[in-house]
Amino acid sequence: MIYFIVPFEVSSEERTDSLSHQLKEVVVTARKPNEDIIPAQILSGKELHRLNSNSVADALRYFSGVQVKDYGGVGGIKTVNIRSMGTNHTGVVYDGVELGNAQNGQIDLGQFSLDNIEALSLYNGQKSEILQPAKDFGAAGTIYMRTRTPVFDEGENYHARATIRTGSFDLLNPSALVELKLSQRVSASLSAEWINSSGKYKFRYRRVNPAGELAYDTTAVRQNGDINATRIELNTYGSLNNGSWTFKVYNYNSERGVPGAIVNNVWRRGERIWDTNSFAQGRYTGYFGKFTTLNNIKYAFYRTHYVNNDDKQVKIDNLYKQKEIYISSANEYEVTGFWNISASYDFMWNTLDADVYGFVKPDRISQYLSAASALDLNRFKIQASALGTFIHDRIKGQQAPADKHVFSPAVFMNGYPLRNKDFSVRVFYKQSFRMPMFNDLYYADMGNSKLSPERVTQYNVGLLYDHKSSSVISAARLSIDAYYNRVKDKIVAYPKGQQFRWTMLNLGLVDIRGIDLTGLLTINPYKDLYLTVRGQYTFQRAIDITNPADNYYRDQIPYIPRHSGSAVVNAQWRGWGLNYSWIYVGERYNQQENIRYNYTQPWYTSDISVSKDFKLGRVSLRGLIEVNNLLSQDYDVILNYPMPKRNYRVTITVEI
């Protein structure tokens, strides 16, 4: 937990926050805090919870360089893509340990509720500190989710919080949190949540002909998007003389309908998915003089039951089971006051079992070995790391593909060219890769066991202006980053002749150039009035340069807008909060060819919320009313997956 650095922008707001004494950030500074060389984009605390977001995926839309694929609704799958490199290149870390999906490599962030999330951070490249698991040096971009950690003031022995959310989609979402101080050194928290929604919402398709006459205008109700899910999370935290430990048990259970594509003559489908995701993870951090050690262990079990009940289609009833064991040890040594070195080793074992005909039941042993070094010369910081990855697969009844090993280096630099540290320049270079997942390699007819890893090279140059003061402008922050990424040997589906038969090949080559712009301004015009404006803009040119003979050669890749951005305006006044957020995703193409038939219109939504904090003795109360898609725009993020029109949510939180 010492590895999350609180951004100053949060603290400026917490002054106005009546709940802040219970919700404040935890920074255990047993030693000099490890600072990221390149700071992350962070949303945390109240600011995070004021954004009208149903899930982690919704909140990530406020980060620059991120595109969220959203299939719509409460239960719809939501995946993220950082800087156009592809979902599989995005690492997702939950309380210090990366979440895995050996089957397809994609984490559905719609499954992660914001209820117990304290901070979300996004790192391009990698978290630029050297004491971290070897695997964390691997992804091309990483999202860190951190849950709330109990902090007790003098004389406090427990905290309790209960929340209920309700609103559109017949949503009923109660949650509860209990934090207990078990002893001077050990505390525990139990967080539980239930979410139930019919997933029904109105959507509308409207077309006009070129003369402006109405061609059709139809409004229908989204069907089979229901969800019933529970989440239980038990955490224990302990401190030792020379370190600390945490242990977590997590269980997520859901039954969902898969709403499917809306196409001509089909308004309802019969697919359903049951998910059970469970894991237990423990962490131990020890400090011994100049030596620091960080150790993680995790066991995960994921069960997915997929059924297609549509009597017009092929009947499917498949059960997939994944298991994962993960052990990591990261160790850092302070050579001198300004020079640190580290080495990490991770071991991971994954297996996938499915009752699918001809399934080869693969299992995989992955070993990661990293070495890193960091120099901190006050005005100039540099960090270099190298990661070696070794993959060994076994499959049932067939010869397994040859072992794979990949070497991926990275260099991160940050400098303060001016006298004060308000202004900084940062540069990074990173190579990363994604291993072909079990589906790519072994999935029935489609998999291709000869696949090689898909590689990404990233170059980034950025400027940051970061200023805080006690004047009217209490905080100001502006950053601009320009980047160039190249995705090589991209794993793409390749046709095999008959209808919809494909295989996977290392065919693609993508050239990505982009600019990320973020800005934040907090002003304090009157005594108790705080105004925060946060803005973010992303430009991306991500073109397919695989083969000049392709008719989509040099076309923008699917679902990547050239322009996208968001703006959030927040006002806080004596317990009242008003939040307005606006998200813009520019025109895109839903297939590789940038032709009129594949054109997808821009969409932009306005969300607004009002909150009020009360205090009744020891009890804190909070009410929140949200209106999402205020202007009721009818849009698809993914073609034929319509998004909800205007919708509402009410949240009441009680905390003692």
Partner: protein, 383 residues
Amino acid sequence: MNLKQFFLYILPLLTVATSCRDDELVVPTEYDIIGDERPGATIRGFYIVNEGNMGSNKCTLDFYDYYTGLYSRNFYAEKNPNVIKELGDVGNDIGIYGSKLYIVVNCSHKVEVLDARTGIRLGQVDIPNCRYVRFHRGKAYVSSYVGPVLIDPNAPKGAVYEVDTLSLAVTRKVSVGYQPEEMEIIDDYMYVANSGGYRVPDYDNTVSVIQMVDFKQVQQIPVGINLHRLKKDRYNKLWITSRGDYQYRPSRLYVMQKKPGYNQMVVTDTIPVACSNMAFYEDKMYYYATEWNNYTASNTITYGVIDVRTKEIISDNFIKDGTDKDITIPYGIAVHPETGDIFVTDAKNYVSSGTLYCFTPDGRKKWSVRTGDIPAHITFLTK
């Protein structure tokens, strides 16, 4: 410029620079000038249905007009702007009977019926998971993966639906084998190729025989696994393809005919070539085959010609000018009934525009044109 100015001016500017949403327009038709004109010819033109990838709702209809030399791409929506969500998801077959054009839209579970000359919609017939359409004595017959009676809900048999071409109502249904594909009608008997594609690895291997008078299945003749194409030549012989199991058992071509003096079709020949699709012209059968090779990780594609009288392969590549190198995935084939021009479609990667190639009978490329996604099925319109 200080930061306040940035927020005051630059952000709103960015907002203006980025474009806004307009009304969603009905997808417009695009025209290409081909110039292969045959004014006054009996064959007025041809329709081509582009399947579109599953879930994309991009089944589209193109038309080539020999009278004007114009290729119209994706003209359904413009002709029929009031149809919600356009033509539909995954076209699978097309046919003309009388004055009507029938398009089988597989994942929209319907047969779309248009006026063959104007392209204006006349109606639709809802048939679940429909595959192919054939015509006989005022009726349209549509094969469907979903049978009328679900005896075993886990393995429903397929069916053939009979549709009245005047009222567009389903008049009769008959249960056949598993996942039926193409059909032909010879002497008041219908022959249906059953694939069993939903039952991997227990594929169906039979041709169903349906007596048309009482619309009953009278026989199932074993032929080969995973049957797909079933077409008759000018001598009423049936040419049937098996897709194989894509692994150990290769695609094959079978011939069925009646023994002299008998009314029963029997398998007479197994031709040891892979065959994905074929088209007949006089005594020639043009075919292509796409077979995936796991070792070279590439498709092996052949374009052959068979003499239907001798059943001999008379050419192993009807494309003579090297254009076959440009074709990624051949996906449809047709021969112009008058000129003998050969049409081959290229489905490329299934998720981008395909190409339609026109070859002269001696195998030289005459012209090519961009189509919709997965161009596949062609039918000729007579004047």
